[in-house]
Amino acid sequence: MPDPTPQVSLTIDGRPVTVPKGTLIVEAAKLIGVEIPVFCYHHKLDPVGACRLCLVELSPGPPRAQTACTTPVAEGMAVRVTSPMAVKSRADILEFELTNHPLDCPVCDKGGECPLQDFTYRHGYPVSRVQEARLHFAKPLPISDRIALDRERCVLCYRCTRYYDEVAWEQELTTNQRGVQSYIATQFDQPLQSVFSGNIIDLCPVGALTSRVWRFQSRPWDMDHTASICSRCAVGCNVNLWERRGELMRVTARENDEIDDGWICDRGRFEYTHVNSPERLTQPLVQRRPAAWEGALSRIAAGIKGRGPRLGVSIPADITNEEAFLLARLLNGPLRGARVVMQGRTSLPAPPLNQLAIKDLDGCHTILVVASDVRADAPIVNLRVKKAVAKSGARLLTVNPELIDFDRHPGVEHVAYEPGHAAAAVRKLFDHPLLQQGPVGILYGDSAGSEDGAAIATAVAWLAKEIGAKVMPLYRATNERGVLAFGILNGDSLDGCEYVLTWGQALAVPKGVRFLACWDDFARPYHDRAQVVIPATTFAEDQGSYTNLEGRVQFLVPPLQPRPPLRQGWEVLQDLGLALGLASDYLGIFQVQRDAAAAYPAQAALAVPPAPAPTAAPVAMGAARP
């Protein structure tokens, strides 16, 4: 361990605080609940000092207000946030910000959670003295299918363009013109393509960048939200799920520095509207006629019981650990011998022991990425690798048939191989100069299914042992790692199965099956051939947990109640077990979790209740307005 960073003591409005050397004043103030308003500053972006809203008075210091977002603390410094000079400086800046702002708060989606509103109330002048007409831009401007830009509301804090440059490494967002005519624009007016574009909505401190998916759907104060987990891939980004009147209204990022660093990808942010669809299946159907759950499940039980290897079961990518545990009980009993396939999974085998955690990427000397561009398999891990390279100086070595998006960054080394020969390419790397100094982290995928995942895993395990590296298999399906722990997967396709139970959208249902039951949230063409169709719940209604690609168990907190007759997955599986003759009396999901943890040591974390959500930080009190 290096020596701890020296501590620095200072006072902020007379209140003492001690922080590590190098801390910015604005961060030190947060620790003791003093609000210094900011627009351009964001704790995940490099400070620029552009908006000038964080002006404070320093002593010792020049007789001018200084920006708290670019000034590090110093020993004995006295920061005055509420001195007359500081208060007036910030009020003047806010007045400038409002000079051309349209003040269309009543029709602005940001209204109610808008820093510009809040800061104006807390730090601004009570009346406007602007007599001149305001600047106008064409608005709103769609800059992608999912994001709208309102240039009139924009305060030009450049958080969005800086995020694109520093975090996402994409060249899609820029500033055009200069002076008061400056505006944010997409590069060559082309729509945004990045899978990371939605984060600019969370970053925007005003209503300039809004979600077109959520646009005009609800107001922030009308919604409740739960602290849940994204269900779209195996990274397990933390999200807030926002609910109003039984509908899922939007998904936003919930910062967890150990996993997502505050970012989520566009799949997680925007792929939620199906939850509210009127097309959702709600009713069990037997021979296409509405039926009660009991009748439907006993019909399924009769169709699948005791079929041995002639039964095929397709499970969804976002099956929870609890559901997988209950399914494993069936597969070890009445359904023994069945073939089980998982949608959207890789061909990677069960995880190795020398697991690399996502947060450990920050400390890697070299990161080796094999047979994946990471962006499609585990999007937010892609951003974490970029952060390690850009902020911590990690070296990056990519092993792929083609150049991938990392390779646009100077200094990234690329090793190409003939498609199909990834494992051989990995074995040749043991004397690569970049791998001679640790810590080394190896991320590996299966090239979207085109490589033999088992062979890559073996080669990576060998290389990791040779050079002392830690590894991270890039599983694609949300709970692939959790399901692997239950040991139930044993096939790639349902071909040859005569009796089939599909859960979620199946890859391909073989022709001429003798019995087909479908458990799904939407109707699919092959449901026409099903004897039984039962409705499924979604991540917004299901309790349960996912094991992410680094082995961390995280719990869903559904914001919605399943609308009867919809039932949660674990309840349906328990009743299916009963119909199959298996004794079961779980009254709630906690009992399922306890039993699963006891039976599968790899999933022991299921019995550990999630850490209570941190209580909301006390509202930081800022300066009185002038």
Binding site: P47, V48, G49, A50, C51, R52, L53, L55, P62, R64, A65, T67, T70, S89, D92, I93, E95, F96, E97, T99, N100, R129, V130, Q131, E132, A133, V155, L156, Y158, T175, Q177, R178, G179, V180, Q181, S182
Partner: protein
């Protein structure tokens, strides 16, 4: 290669003691002529007989202060660079002269390019840089060509290149044409532009001396500052310090423009009063008129009135009357000019040239322009005096990212301070006796 046989850019003939001592010599821009008047002897002396620290010592002893606008002591600035660590470090020449009323760097570059090249070489040696970049204003076509030709001549003659004067100290000088914005002359915005990005100032610290071009230690100096170096090395810092005042030693090249009879560039010893520059060298006001208002160092330096012409030209005397040396561009306006309209025109400039990065400058300049427009159209109200004051304090007081906002604020502040009666006449009575008188 354009011919430059005549001295361009000035009505004046008087050659000064330092920067313009050889002006008037035919074909001064040619290497052979420059060598005949002693050219590149300072470079030879520095490279072959002096240690880098001795060069810096001479510059410190001369007391030379930066001629770009801030007036920071040059030798001290050089001392801010960290010791060489084996990585690249750069000299960047600020030749993006765009301060209104200032054309002295242009005058030096088109008439005396070798003097600048020699100064750059000396600076490179002093801070142990092997690469220099000249960021030259995009509109300076002739000047660019003159400098490019001088660099080529000096390279061919072995003054720079792999082994200048046979010594193992490779130096190369690169020319980079500016991107056509006033803000490109601000040192950190210049570096951003040089790196190929939008020209917007960086937050300081870190200062360019520590983290400049491409994140490396960088020395940024103005053309005139560097052009002074050959004289200082040849004659010694102490000799230079004999000119001027104790704290503002040396001479300075002033550009006089506006309502004078012989506008042009004049080298004058610092400390001499501006009346000498304006009345004696530049011919004074036109007959029948008197000087009413003047800017001593480009429009970014706070204005002074006609009664203040006897102010000495050293930086301390200017600071004492609330102004500054600035860029050395002296703008003169006589009694026919409405100060409110002058301020309006300048604010148009600042609003147009604001890069838009920081809030006060982006919004404040434009707000001021719109308020001036309303006032000049005779629609001002008493509240506008407060509005001007409000905009001015929001812009100035060091609240902006760079000095552009301060300068814009000062225009409002000091024209109001010194000509409040004109403002009140416009705002309260909706008339302008100055312009009415000029028309009559």
């Amino acid at each position: 290669m354009p011919a430059a046989t005549e001295l361009r850019g000035s009505h004046g003939k008087a050659a000064g003691p330092v920067l313009t001592k050889d002006f008037g010599t035919a074909d001064l821009h040619k290497l052979g002529v420059y060598e005949k008047v002693g050219g590149y002897q300072a470079w030879r002396k520095a490279l072959t007989t002096m240690q880098p620290a001795e060069v810096t010592g001479e510059v410190k002893a001369s007391g030379l202060r930066g001629r770009g606008g801030a007036g920071f002591p040059t030798g001290t600035k050089w001392g801010f660079l960290p010791p060489p660590d084996g990585g690249p470090r750069y000299v960047v020449v600020n030749a993006d002269e765009s301060e209104p009323g200032t054309a002295k760097d242009r005058y030096l570059m088109e008439n005396h390019p070798h003097q600048l090249v020699e100064g750059i070489l000396i600076a490179c040696y002093a801070i142990q840089a092997h690469h220099a970049w000249i960021y030259i204003r995009g509109e300076y076509d002739l000047q660019h060509d003159m400098i490019a030709a001088a660099i080529a001549e000096a390279r061919a003659a072995g003054y720079l290149g792999e082994q200048p004067l046979g010594k193992d100290f490779p130096i190369d000088i690169h020319l980079y044409r500016g991107h056509g914005a006033y803000i490109c002359g601000e040192e950190t915005a210049l570096l951003e532009s040089l790196e190929g990005k939008r020209a917007q100032p960086r937050s300081r610290p870190p200062f360019p001396a520590v983290k400049g071009a491409w994140g490396r230690p960088t020395l940024l100096n103005n053309v005139e500052t560097l052009s002074t170096l050959p004289w200082i090395i040849s004659n010694g810092g102490a000799a230079y310090a004999k000119f001027g005042t104790e704290k503002s030693p040396g001479t300075r090249l002033f550009t006089v423009s506006g309502d004078v009879q012989r506008p042009g560039n004049y080298e004058m010893e610092l400390g001499k009063p501006f009346s000498h520059l304006i009345n004696d060298l530049a011919g004074g006001p036109f007959p029948g008129h008197s000087i009413k208002v003047w800017w001593p160092g480009g429009c970014s330096a706070p204005v002074l009135t006609g009664e203040m012409l006897e102010t000495p030209s050293d930086m301390e005397s200017l600071a004492a009357v609330g102004s500054m040396g600035g860029s050395g561009g002296v703008i003169v306006a006589d009694d026919r000019r409405c100060v409110v309209r002058c301020a309006y025109r300048l604010l148009q400039f600042y609003a147009h040239e604001s890069c838009g990065k920081c809030t006060p400058c982006r919004v404040g300049g434009d707000w001021a322009v719109r308020t001036y427009e309303r006032v000049l159209e005779g629609e001002g109200t008493a509240a506008d005096l407060a509005t001007f004051d409000r905009i001015q304090t929001g812009l100035a007081a060091g609240r902006c990212l760079c000095g552009l906002g301060d300068s814009a604020g000062w225009v409002i502040q000091w024209t109001m301070e010194r000509f409040r009666d004109e403002y009140e006449e416009h705002i309260l009575h909706h008339t302008c006796s100055v312009e009415a008188g000029a028309r009559a």
